[in-house]
Symmetry: C2
Subunit: 140 residues, 2 copies
């Protein structure tokens, strides 16, 4: 098993982000917790480790990460943004029952579409919604 701290450090340096203590911890949290955490979740978890932490620092760090393309914000019918440290193309499934958001594999580039001639497409996202396996098996 590789050292997460080290990977985080390299990722930040790669994108010319000064690897401050807090930034390392925020990105580390995102890479360890792949469950699309909210700002609140990140904040309350890290605050246990260093109680002087300010929520503004979480926002500062995340906004910087998004700006540099290290992290992508995802929104599915929520006002509360969630963040994903995986920027490679994949789909997001939101369970209406438990609220969890799952990643799934999808080849977005293979989808046929029309009506966007001369448009410049920088980003493609796919959102599915419904009931996840776990909830479906429990509430039947």
């Amino acid at each position: 098993m590789e050292n997460v701290q080290e990977i985080v450090f390299d990722k930040l340096s790669e994108k010319d982000i000064k690897p401050s203590f807090h930034r390392i911890k925020v990105l580390e949290y995102l890479m360890v917790n792949k469950n699309h955490p909210t700002v609140e979740q990140i904040y309350s978890s890290l605050k246990k480790l260093f109680p002087t932490l300010s929520k503004a620092t979480i926002y500062n760090s995340l906004n910087l990460f998004v700006e540099k393309g290290l992290v992508q914000p995802i929104t599915i019918e929520e006002t509360e943004l969630r963040y994903d440290s995986t920027v490679e193309s994949h789909g997001h499934f939101k369970c209406d029952c438990c609220g969890l958001i799952y990643d799934f594999d999808i080849d977005v580039d293979s989808v046929a579409f029309s009506g966007l001639d001369n448009f410049i497409i920088n980003n493609k996202e796919v959102y599915f919604r419904g009931t996840c396996r776990k909830c479906a098996s429990v509430n039947q």
Copy 2:
């Protein structure tokens, strides 16, 4: 050309929504203005017609429409929800330059994906982002 009022009236009745004056006007606005308006846009436009209008009425109506499946809320990296009276499957393209959201045709059901075995999928949405034709031609 058919009477929009009549279509709106029928759509509401179909979904067992009592067709009050305000509800008719809100849905009519959505059907005439297919540019994914925000609550603020709907509100300020209708307020010109009847100045006693309250913004809570817009929220009440829209939430009811969404609940009944008459309208779908769409969110692309925004905290401000936008609404679309077209519930048939199609993609949304958001222009990072002018902020407009365009519909485009896409056959979501033809996309191959994996990792959602035993999941119940109720809804599929595709979001593209980039620069629209108009902005691309102006800023070159």
